[in-house]
Assembly symmetry: D2
Homo-oligomer: 359 residues x 4
């Protein structure tokens, strides 16, 4: 429900931006899998604040402590509880915001829902919560990789700058070769310059992350309520600042005729079935067809500007907000590992659910 993702492979997260720690519990991890804990930390490092000049300056080591569910390095089938201590809170930066509602933030909506909120660093609404998802995603990813399934995301747009080539024309292994995580070096340079300019302006900017999942067997996903496109959409839209999701040709596909976008089938010499095009993005009727899954996630610009903004306080008075805190001018570079994590969690859950589709 509220703070739990998944059906069989289930992640429940907790924690506020400025509390002692964030963390979670991962239930449904299959037993007998040897975990690479360094690889978990590596994924956290990819999401970590302070990793480059174009992300927030908050300095968190984001060191995960795995508390259970692993014995002699192998999963036991029991839940993996973990915490990530918060170490670099500057809570006093937020004192002035205690009774303010920052525009386009969750300050007002949390207060409307709960009657109060932890205002420090955005509390629970902070994207810091996604670090817990990266932990679970890093575990799911390892299990998927043992089955030949890989998940790779990259920055495909920053503001108006957009890669005009499809993922199939890119070398995705280059995504992490630059700080904006765009696999096209020239475009990466331009994106970085734009983010630096936006930051210098005290402004922020949106962007798009594209994610590609390869090696998926046909038959994953459920047919109606838990169509894999639906669970992926939910997983992605649950990431902070996500405002749009499209699978395969997505919105562009809606502008076309059927004859232009159907994906013809072809039989391999070995009797295998595959499609000769992939406008569908690897999912038909909610279930994978064995082709690559690919999708886009749109992120709005961060709502916290580093310039004065007018807003109101809880008493309805107009006030001028001068954000202190430390904020990303563009979330997209750090959203890349979060998108991958949520994709991995969703895929592994579908993979496990599919185990009971036949006797």
């Amino acid at each position: 429900m509220s703070n739990t993702f998944g059906n069989i492979f289930r992640l429940t997260t907790f924690g506020e931006s400025h509390g002692p720690a964030i963390g979670g519990v991962i239930d449904g991890v299959p037993a007998g899998f040897r975990l690479d804990t360094d690889a978990i930390q590596h994924q956290l490092d990819r999401r970590r604040p302070g990793q480059s000049a174009i992300v927030t300056g908050r300095r968190e080591s984001d060191t995960v402590q795995l508390l259970s569910g692993i014995f002699d390095g192998v999963t036991t089938g029991t839940p993996i509880g973990f915490i990530i201590p918060n170490t670099d809170q500057h809570s006093s930066d937020y004192d002035a915001m205690r009774d303010l509602y920052r525009p386009s933030h969750a300050d007002y909506t949390y207060t409307a829902k709960y009657g109060l909120r932890d205002h420090r660093g955005g509390g629970r609404s902070s994207a810091r919560e996604t670090a817990s998802r990266v932990v679970a995603g890093a575990i799911a990813r390892q299990i998927l990789e043992s089955k030949g399934i890989t998940v790779t995301a990259y920055t495909s747009s920053v503001g108006p700058l957009s890669l005009d080539r499809p993922y199939t024309a890119l070398d995705l292994s280059l995504a992490d070769s630059n700080i904006v995580r765009c696999p096209d070096a020239d475009m990466a340079r331009r994106m970085i310059e734009l983010i630096e300019q936006v930051k210098a302006d005290g402004d922020t900017i949106g962007g798009i992350v594209t994610c590609v999942i390869k090696g998926v067997p046909a038959g994953l996903g459920e047919p109606v309520a838990d169509k894999l496109n639906a669970t992926l959409a939910s997983a992605m839209m649950s990431i902070n600042a996500a405002k749009g999701f499209e699978l395969g040709m997505g919105f562009e596909g809606s502008r076309h005729r059927g004859s232009e976008v159907i994906d013809p089938f072809e039989a391999g010499h070995d009797g295998s079935v595959h499609t000769t095009a992939n406008h569908s993005g690897g999912i038909q009727g909610g279930i994978t067809n064995g082709a690559d899954i690919y999708f886009n996630v749109a992120f709005k610009p961060v709502a916290t500007l580093l310039r004065p903004v007018e807003t109101i306080d809880a008493d309805g008075n107009t006030v001028t907000l001068k954000a202190r805190g430390r904020h990303d001018p563009c979330v997209v570079p750090r959203a890349v590992p979060v998108v991958e994590a949520m994709a991995a969690i969703t895929l592994l859950d579908a993979w496990l659910m599919n185990k009971s589709s036949r006797l």
Copy 2:
């Protein structure tokens, strides 16, 4: 899970396109609400096949039988079970498809998942299943309306034809005044002509449905896993042929700077809080802020063309498929009430979940 929507207000559906009936069970309907059963049938009529020249010619009365959960016209709090008999199956139309995989359909993916499938009329993967959702949506809608919440969807694009005005510049009450369900009469005429042309060509075409929810109180939605944008995205992407979802400015918003798209707060004379813009689409941090919720859903063109198409059979032989069956050249007009139904189901569930957010 697989065939169940919602947490508290829960719909579980069953049924295949060519079985004796489809139907469902709606659990979690609050007690004491006087239902207008004619209004349920009216929503089914809006989704019904055979309703106009631009939709499938299958002739189903789609008469719902409510079997439980209502006493003297009032909900009792116990589940509402219902069936909609199938009456106009032409199953023999599908005999030739028994061992074929139609391109971009679920034929292959169901077979890959389950090892077999009911091939008649697409079986469970048929959009006929959405009639059951319309029943639950029609009930949810009535309850929401009693709370001042209204849900209205309309066709905003058919292929390349797209309304260039936002919903705020349209008279949404006109959406049902034409068979394509576009509230702009001139655009509606052009869309209808395009669909007729596409149909004459034996082809199909995609489109976009826009949905607007008004009167939503601030505070609905959950903060992390069940962000209202996430549950709406999942609900919409679970509709047959849906390939994209965007809330508020969505993908377009990702191209902008924060200073251009934040939604300033303003206090009313009565102390109420509202925003002076609504780029966010009424949801911030996963929770409603009291502004209108609006979103787009992209639908791909129907995969069944009424012209010969090459494909393969289960043995890998290339065969030519000449679809018989009766199919929509464009799903969008009939998707409008389904989008509304899923929106209503999702909102009511959020409304009921929110009852326990405070003591």
Copy 3:
């Protein structure tokens, strides 16, 4: 939740005693299983009212209509929706009870919860709802039997009459050889005489059902929240009139020392592990150990007496209730197939959940 049983193999039921039909949806049925529909009807016949002189005289054929999820006699993996029409309602028998609260019935509690109720035949609180469970149980049972798992229940007590032999000393195949479903012919005769006497007195009587599950592989059940003993307890206590559950030695075991009741392990020549005693009832730490599962379920006497009873109406007036309706003097004989059904549903769900315990 409220009207749904199970996690993967999930049954959602609907329907009131005097509505047009009861029924349900069974989701999570694995694909590819050839169902014996006669065997489903056979189980319903075992639960059917009017089957003998010692059960209620209501005459229902209890004919199930399977509406989906089966193609050419084989499960397709999609939900099985079904209805059982109500045909012999005598709703007017209940007119006088409309505003009464029958003692020890759910009349008052439903009204307290929902503000209203369908008073006819007990509405949703009628044990008639369990017919839907028997349908799902009959399907689960067939699947379990294909895996070598059998479920057998029998009447072990009626009022003070109690079998003093354990199930291992009985021929369980004789349970259905008499109308009270006790495998000991002499005890069965005495139980039947007692029920007839109680009925002649216008009274009712309680009893105990014992259930035995054989052929269970070791390893089923979850370790903490869904311990198999916990899910079995919940399943059994959800049956109308159930007031107690005990596994293995149960309450009697609590009176003993550990040295008297531990179950020693022994290795077979083939390396298999088994226990030389079974005080635990086949479950240790919530998970099966391969020994027989056995448990008792206590049922209170039916609350409707066929003699005048004083009670109050909704206005607080004292009134004399003279039950008309048709009621069981003892629920136990008809509870036997319901206990079996719930056991089969619970076991199959555990069996399917266990598929994801390892990669």
Copy 4:
């Protein structure tokens, strides 16, 4: 599912007996409640090992660290994550048991399910896990008390020693006045002597805990799958070593006639409805009627004897087990606060679910 309790008020636990910590996440805590954290620690102290001469000698301070969900002492509506560090593990005590299956323990069943297990201190199957439940229960209890609902459990039997008076004839406030938690001082003394004798014999003994819930409003609980008696049964049977549950008259009630055990209604001068007897234990049709809820939970004797026991190892060899570890001769005194915790969790969940039973 596996490690999660509840629907709205949901506890997910993690942790092994000898890992760095156990803990959990409590989701669905209503916002705006001022928590008494000392009272949480007090409940943990009641369950703590080493608290008296008749419980295990393991020395754990069981200090809970609340990590989230609370701001300025008040619940925020976001999840409460917490850990309880393990500090007094003697893991080497278990070295000899690594490849053994202790009789009537979960060693074999975990291995059968998962293929491996953390053998140290029983790993996840240790009753140490219940400390996490006590934390959640202590929070639920405070919220319930603010609504006038109280939960009290006590030891009613130890082995053959059984209180012969009903709870209504006892002063329940005396339950904690002795180390066995029996409110009858004389019986308490005899129970303590028995446990000491059993301990001296290197043996263990079972017992029964009785729980009473007062101040419950009518209308809590769900009518079919989540009958309150079913969810209570599941909650109780999920406690380590629990083997039986009975509500109200329970098994004894099954031996009676209906005329002897129905609970007549009576109207108060203020129009309130209550019963003049309470054989039902406060629940009718799965829903509370406003009378006290009371039930018994049977616990088997602890399986670890402090005397040599023969068993087998993973290779099927017969070996003699000489338990070291530190174990309770009787779990019942420490089970009392666990029973209360699970009752409080279950009741609060029902209370919150009931909020959506009407509009």
